[in-house]
């Protein structure tokens, strides 16, 4: 591609400015987190004596170990089941295409842009009736349902793109439906499945509205949900609040940096299909 020197330099400067705009807020958060607890530091300033202990204090007062455990339990409740049932549905609607599959698919698609606020009131009543209010189930069950429109659409799109000849060949070799799914289609679906798993993981981890409405005990919530409670409790102690916020966003940040390629690819594809 032809690109003049001037264009390249302009682009480089622009990129560096944009990256600075992304990173500097985090650096400010970090610098503030190292100030003396209870003080009100000004802007971006490095403390004379960094209080690294703020991170340990924040970890203790936020019960970070329990929060991590709670988030992990919620993830374990949501992601495997959401993956499994959306894959089954996607396989049926995209590959087997039974009578009525178009209409069923359309009903799923209807929910794709639904704001969670639109159903939060009945969800609250429903969870109360089920006796699940203030338990992790109140986050897990609705999230599985709310993930269905996107997840079914995603898996259906994947199975539509798979060749029918493959199934034909397997059938002639005597494979039944279960073997066809388990031995042939599932292994070939791993890239689509792992991207979907990443998306579902992130959406669960960062879920806020369901957590604050349906679960009043912060220790039963997701990480993001408990950050709201942490702010309410420690909002006046700025360095501690900043340290706590950093701790709470560290797990996703670490996972992102380790699996960054997969993450970027998943989120880009995810928004195109959504």
């Amino acid at each position: 591609m032809i690109a003049s020197r001037r264009e390249v330099w302009m682009g480089r400067i622009l990129l560096i400015l944009l990256m600075a705009g992304t990173i500097v807020p985090f650096l400010t958060l970090f610098a503030t987190a190292l100030h003396k607890p209870g003080t009100y530091p000004e802007g971006l300033s490095w403390p004379e004596t960094p209080y690294w202990s703020n991170f340990i204090d924040a970890f203790k007062v936020a019960h970070m170990d329990q929060l991590l455990l709670s988030s992990v339990l919620i993830e374990i409740g949501v992601v495997p089941i959401a993956l499994l049932i959306s894959t089954l549905a996607g396989f049926a609607l995209g590959h087997l295409r039974p009578i009525g599959s178009r209409i069923i698919f359309l009903v799923f698609v209807l929910g794709i842009t639904l704001p969670y606020e639109a159903i939060i009131i009945p969800l609250y009543q429903q969870m109360k009736d089920f006796g699940l209010l203030n338990t992790r189930w109140a986050i897990i069950l609705p999230l599985i349902g709310l993930f269905m429109p996107f997840s079914v659409m995603w898996m259906r799109a994947h199975f539509v793109s798979m060749s029918q000849d493959l199934s034909e060949a397997a059938r002639i070799d005597g494979a039944n439906l279960w073997q066809l799914f388990w031995k042939i289609h599932l292994p070939l679906s791993m890239p689509a499945l792992s991207s979907l798993a990443i998306l579902q993981f992130l959406w669960t981890w960062n879920q806020f509205l369901l957590a604050i409405v349906l679960v009043s005990d912060p220790l039963q919530r997701t990480m993001a949900g408990s950050l709201g409670a942490f702010q309410g409790q420690w909002g006046t102690d700025i360095p501690l609040l900043c340290a706590g916020s950093l701790l709470i966003l560290t797990p996703t940040l670490l996972l992102f940096l380790i699996f960054q390629r997969k993450f970027v690819a998943a989120l880009l594809q995810g928004s195109v299909k959504g």
Binding site: A3, G21, P25, T113, L114, P115, Q125, L141, S271
Partner: protein, 316 residues
């Protein structure tokens, strides 16, 4: 696929042909039933935790109900209140203003940036920038809210920078300002959504045939002309995706508002999501809150469906 299997067998008269056709149909039906059974788990979860609640929201919107006692049918009264009460329609208006920031800034800045770095999008700097610019997209919005509330306080980093460049006169507590809190909120949203839009648009640009640009350069087209007549038309689908994602983010915004302003000062950053939360769980006006929720769903669909139609027509 069953037809190919039947042709292998020797035909033996018209009677058995009809029989076979019947058997084929039965087999197709039973296959359909098995396939439909696979959809059932997903459909049940979707029906119980999304469709049923959505139906109930619509039902509640016609009642006056405090969530505990008896409810009274009030017809369209709650919807009339949406139009009468300036705080309620104001919240919808605010979410439209947020669309301008959440959508236009990331898309326009994203187009400009992607177009500028298109020529060296595989260099090391550009690859590092992919990771860095994506970070706002993966952290919880709540964390972004806490971070920016801190940066935007009266003695925060933003004002520090403004003072340093000689704009000390305009410094203020940005999220505490009646007129500027909402645009400031919009800029936080733009910060969150920019990276995603830019990378989507860049990915779209990389699919454009380079020969088109070479031909244009030989014809003496300016960079501006190239952008308008080659780049922009080829990105129709990607722009549609960016608009959809950002518009939904603006209309359904809740997390950042909850964390940074709770709708204040006054009601200047009150958005529908926040208002529904207040009405339902603090003022116990479940009917009114549900009417606002239904209005929100209608607004989302009224904007998204035309965008989808306009940008996806050449598919299928």
């Amino acid at each position: 696929m069953t037809d190919s299997a039947t042709t292998i067998q020797p035909a033996s008269g018209p009677a058995s042909l009809a029989e076979r056709r019947h058997a084929n149909r039965a087999r197709r039906l039973s296959k359909s039933l098995i396939a439909l059974a696979l959809v059932v788990p997903a459909a049940v979860m979707y029906a119980v935790f999304v469709l049923r609640p959505l139906g109930l929201t619509i039902q509640y919107s016609f009642y006056d109900w405090n969530g505990i006692g008896a409810s009274t049918w009030v017809g369209l009264k709650n919807y009339a209140a949406l139009f009468d009460n300036p705080v309620l329609w104001g919240s919808l208006l605010h979410s439209f203003i947020l669309i301008v920031f959440f959508c236009l800034i990331p898309v326009i800045l994203g187009l400009f940036t992607a177009n500028t770095i298109r020529g060296f999008s595989t260099s090391r700097l550009a690859l590092v920038s992919r990771t860095v610019l994506f970070i706002p997209q993966i952290i919880p919005l709540v964390a972004a809210g806490i971070m920016w509330s801190w940066l935007l306080t009266s003695k925060g980093f933003v004002n520090q920078v403004l003072t340093a460049v000689g704009l000390g006169g305009i410094t203020r507590a940005w999220l505490g300002d009646f007129d500027l809190a909402l645009p400031t909120m919009g800029l936080i949203g733009a910060w969150v959504l920019f990276g995603l839009c830019m990378l989507l648009l860049l990915a779209g640009m990389s699919k454009i045939d380079p020969a088109l640009y070479e031909a244009a350069r030989i014809d003496g087209a300016t960079a501006w002309k190239e952008f308008w007549s080659i780049t922009l038309p080829s990105l129709k689908q990607e722009i549609g995706v960016c608009v959809t994602v950002t518009v939904v983010a603006a209309l359904a915004s809740f997390d950042i508002v909850y964390i940074s302003t709770r709708g204040g000062p006054g009601n200047s950053t009150m958005v529908p999501g926040m208002q529904i939360y207040y009405l339902a769980f603090f003022e116990r006006e479940l009917g009114l809150a549900s009417a606002l929720a239904v209005a929100l769903v209608i607004v989302v669909l009224a904007i998204i469906l035309p965008v989808q139609r306009a940008t996806k027509e050449d598919k299928d």
